[in-house]
C-alpha cells in the first residue's frame, strides 16, 4: 500500500474529528432539552434496528471467506441467537457460539 505519512495522518485526523462530531451531534444540540415522547419511542429501537443490520451481512457473507457463505459461521450465529434468547445471558450465549464455531471448524466443515 502506497500511502504517504502525511496522507495517513490526514485520514486519521479527518476520521477522528468527523466521528466525534457525529457522536456529539445530538448530545451537543439537545443538551438538557426534553425530547417529545414520539421521538423517545423511536430511539428505544436503536439497538434492535442497527445491530441486526450490522450482523446479518457478516453472518451470511463472512469477511474471512471473502463473502462466501460459510456453514460453521452460520450455525455458530444461529446457536448464539437461540441460546441468547432462551438464557437471556450474554456470557452463556457467547460461550455457546464459540464452542459451536470451533467444534465445526475442527470437524472440517
Amino acid at each position: 500500500m502506497n500511502v504517504s505519512p502525511t496522507t495517513l495522518w490526514m485520514i486519521i485526523a479527518g476520521l477522528a474529528f468527523g466521528s466525534w462530531l457525529l457522536r456529539f451531534s445530538f448530545l451537543g444540540i439537545i443538551g438538557n432539552k426534553e425530547l417529545p415522547e414520539w421521538a423517545k419511542r423511536h430511539l428505544r429501537y436503536t439497538v434492535v434496528a442497527v445491530m441486526p443490520g450490522i450482523i446479518a451481512p457478516l453472518v451470511f457473507m463472512p469477511r474471512a471467506t471473502g463473502g462466501v457463505f460459510d456453514l460453521p459461521r452460520f450455525v455458530a450465529a444461529a446457536v448464539t441467537l437461540a441460546v441468547g434468547v432462551w438464557s437471556r445471558n450474554l456470557l452463556i450465549a457467547i460461550g455457546a457460539g464459540a464452542v459451536t464455531l470451533y467444534s465445526m471448524l475442527n470437524m472440517g466443515f
Binding site: L15, G31, V48
Partner: protein
C-alpha cells in the same frame, strides 16, 4: 458519590465479557494495519483517535484500493452514521450533563457500551444523572481501552496470528449475544428481523448506506407497531 462509584464498577463488570471479543477484534485491525504498512505507533493512534471498528476497517480497505483521501474520510464517516442515532438516544439520558462531560461521552460512544447503558437506563429509570454517567464511563472506558490495546498487540504480532483462531467472527457472535436478550416484544423482534433482511438485500449499496436505510426503516416499524399495540382498540 459512593453510589456513583458503585455504578462505575457495575458498568465496568458488565462490559468485561466484551473484552474477550473486542480485544481479538482490535487485534484483527492491528494485523491488517500492519499488513497494509502502518507501524505500531500509527495503528494505535488510529484506534485511539477514531475508536470505531467498522469505520477503521472500511478506511483501511479503501486506502488499500488507493481511494482519494477525501473519499476515504467521507465513506468511513458514513459507516459511522449510526453513532448519531446513539447520540440522540444517549442525549435523552445524559443530556443534562455539563458540556465537557458530554464531549467526553461523545468521544467514547461504542456499540457495546451504548447497548449496555441503554438497556441499563431503560430497566432502571430511577437512576440519577451521576449514576448513569458513572455506569457509562465504567462500561465504555474498559471496552475502549481494550480496543486500543488489542490493536497494539495485533500490530506487533502481525502475520503471526493464525487463521484458525477465526478472530473475524468474534464480533458477530458478541453482537448477537448482545441483541438477543433485548428481543422481548413483537415490535422489537419485527424491527430486528426487518433490519437484518433489509441489510442483506441492500448489502450491495455502496458506502454502508444500506445499513443506514435498513436501520431507519426498522426503527420506524418498531415504534409504529408499539404505538398501534398500545393504542386502545
Amino acid at each position: 458519590m459512593l453510589s456513583a462509584r458503585h455504578d462505575f464498577w457495575k458498568g465496568f463488570w458488565g462490559a468485561l465479557p466484551f473484552c474477550f471479543v473486542v480485544g481479538p477484534y482490535g487485534m484483527v485491525f492491528g494485523v491488517l494495519a500492519a499488513e497494509s504498512g502502518l507501524n505500531i505507533f500509527t495503528s494505535i493512534a488510529f484506534s485511539l483517535a477514531v475508536i470505531a471498528g467498522a469505520a477503521q476497517f472500511t478506511a483501511l480497505s479503501l486506502m488499500h484500493d488507493q481511494a482519494p483521501t477525501i473519499v476515504v474520510i467521507i465513506v468511513g464517516l458514513t459507516v459511522n452514521l449510526r453513532m448519531a442515532l446513539y447520540s440522540a438516544t444517549l442525549a435523552t439520558h445524559l443530556g443534562k450533563a455539563p458540556f465537557w462531560t458530554r464531549a467526553l461521552v461523545a468521544y467514547s460512544i461504542l456499540d457495546h457500551s451504548f447497548a449496555l447503558s441503554d438497556a441499563k437506563y431503560q430497566n432502571n429509570p430511577e437512576m440519577t444523572l451521576s449514576q448513569k454517567l458513572a455506569f457509562y464511563f465504567g462500561a465504555t472506558g474498559l471496552v475502549g481501552a481494550i480496543w486500543v490495546i488489542g490493536t497494539g498487540i495485533g500490530a506487533w504480532l502481525g502475520a503471526r496470528v493464525p487463521d484458525w483462531l477465526a478472530l473475524d467472527f468474534a464480533m458477530p457472535i458478541a453482537f448477537i449475544a448482545l441483541v438477543a436478550p433485548a428481543l422481548r416484544t413483537v415490535p422489537q423482534v419485527a424491527a430486528a428481523f426487518t433490519a437484518a433482511m433489509l441489510a442483506l438485500v441492500l448489502a450491495p449499496v455502496p458506502y454502508g448506506l444500506g445499513l443506514i436505510i435498513a436501520a431507519i426503516v426498522a426503527l420506524l416499524l418498531g415504534a409504529e407497531l408499539e404505538r398501534r399495540m398500545e393504542a386502545p382498540a
